[in-house]
Amino acid sequence: MTPLVQSARFREVGPPVLTGLVLLGLWEGTCRLFGIPEFLLPAPSAVARVFATDAPTLLRALLSTLEVTVMAFGLAAVVGTLVAFVFVQSRAVERSLFPYAVMLQVTPVVAIAPLIIILVKDTRLALVACAALVALFPVISNTTLGLRTVDPGLANLFALHKAGPLQTLVRLRIPSALPLFFAGLRISSGLALIGAVVAEFVAGTGGTGSGLAYEILQSGFQLDIPRMFAALFLITAAGVALFLIMAGLTRLALGDWHESERRPER
């Protein structure tokens, strides 16, 4: 074995990359073997060819989509957390408002996007609002659960020392909630991204400065399916990148104490 294979870094990155390469190989092989036409399912090589020629345009579109995604994700994280804070103040508040949080989640963006677009004049802001709506609920749901899941002994300790609601929140509930909060963020980061794409689909922004949805739509209309797959690939790659960033943040924040993140000591 070479040192590379043994390094911890390789063990982290190696398996997923290998899996990816194997999958790509199978895909390419299938396409070639059965002679699947490009406009039905393009081979990875065909997609790669698009990148060779169209990378700048596609990356510009990706950047535009990512901008919306990041803003929406930030908004969803902040608003969702605040809502969860309100919910754990009392069961009555939670019972009164949680159904309406669920309503927000299950209202299809496609349906309310026109309203948002009419209300919010700035198209970009409207996109952000739509995507944030999509990403909001998992943050609320997981954070609320997390804030509720506190060690009863510690809760007693805080009650005993007459900790105020804010103190209990900051010093007990928030630290206890972190693992679930981050799990919520990991789900939401992906949702913010598809939220952004769907919002772009719906809002129908085109032309320069438009995002990946436009590239996908146009490539679809023009049957430039390799290009469509290239755009899809960029979206999924961005999603995975977001996820990995969130996973890294989780490890940074919890690495030292939470069971789900601790590596066994040897």
């Binding site: 039905l40 026109p114 009419i118 049957l223």
Partner: protein
């Protein structure tokens, strides 16, 4: 110059060429209008944006305007672009006409269920069971030799030709489908408060169309700026189709933009007959011929 915005029905393409041409040539500016041509998209509800006051005019569709009138909404068609709805069906090579689809799967968008599909059903006895969703790209059509799908003459047939898939295209208007295509719709309020602007906009637009059919280069430049994915070949194909189908001037060479009450009546009759419109609706409210009378832009 007075601001006036016009929202098209789709991403910029040859079917919108005249408006972009007028913009490129400065025809709007000369008519005292600061025009803003905006492109629509698959999920953009133009009529709602119009009624909400977000735009001054939209590229509309007769059925939708009649529906709006039924709801008491103040939308009025002031001119048309095409003498026919360019909606048609694209089929594989074995199909010889619109009446030939009994055993075929027909891919249509859900909006078509309240536009041409009832017309086809009524005319040729088709059923809902043979429809599947059209997702605005052609893979399902190519993958299924038994499929037919809705299409615009300038778009889908071009893609099929590009990919070397032999396909036929049938325009529904050729079999008597009544509505106009790509109309200009404004609110009654705009009509009453700014009739001069509306008139000037229509006039300049139709001049734009005339010029576009002669030399599309200036318009195309703007189209490609708005929709960079639009290729020259596709635009050229689209223009050729518009010419071939006499979309702008009709079979007997009317001025570009002209509408008649008789045609509107035919549309109303069809809708009422198909159960798409209540019979008591006053269809006269859906349009006015006030602005099309003095149109004089003609193709040659």
């Amino acid at each position: 110059a007075e601001k006036f915005s016009y929202l098209t029905s789709w991403f910029a393409q040859a079917e919108h060429g005249g408006f972009y041409e007028a913009q490129a040539e400065g025809l709007y500016g000369k008519a005292g209008i600061d025009a803003d041509i905006r492109q629509g998209g698959p999920q953009v509800n133009a009529m709602q944006l119009l009624l909400a006051g977000q735009v001054d005019a939209v590229m509309g569709y007769d059925f939708q305007v009649l529906n709006a009138v039924e709801k008491g909404l103040p939308a009025v068609t002031v001119a048309t672009t095409f003498q026919y709805d360019l909606q048609g069906l694209m089929t594989h090579a074995d199909v010889k006409g619109l009446g030939d689809l009994k055993d075929k799967t027909v891919l249509i968008a859900s909006s078509s269920h309240t536009t041409f599909w009832p017309w086809l059903k009524a005319k040729y006895g088709y059923t809902d069971a043979q429809t599947k969703a059209y997702t605005f790209n052609l893979q399902p059509f190519f993958a299924d030799p038994n499929a037919a799908q809705q299409a615009y003459p300038s778009s889908e047939p071009f893609q099929a030709q590009e990919k070397g898939v032999p396909a036929n295209f049938y325009l529904m208007a050729a079999d008597g489908y009544p509505p106009y295509g790509s109309t200009i719709v404004v609110t009654r309020k705009t009509l009453e408060e700014r009739p001069q602007v509306v008139r000037a906009f229509i006039k300049a637009s139709m001049q734009g169309w005339r010029d576009y059919m002669k030399d599309p280069a200036p318009g195309n430049a703007l189209i490609k700026a708005a929709n960079p994915k639009m290729g020259d070949a596709q635009i050229a194909f689209g223009i050729a189709k518009l010419r071939e189908l006499h979309a702008l001037d009709g079979k007997n060479g009317v001025p570009i933009g002209a509408m008649t009450e008789a045609r509107w009546k035919a549309t109303d009759d069809y809708m009422v007959g198909a159960g798409l419109l209540k019979p008591e609706v006053d269809w006269h409210k859906a349009f006015t011929t006030e602005f099309v009378g003095d149109l004089d832009a003609r193709l040659n």
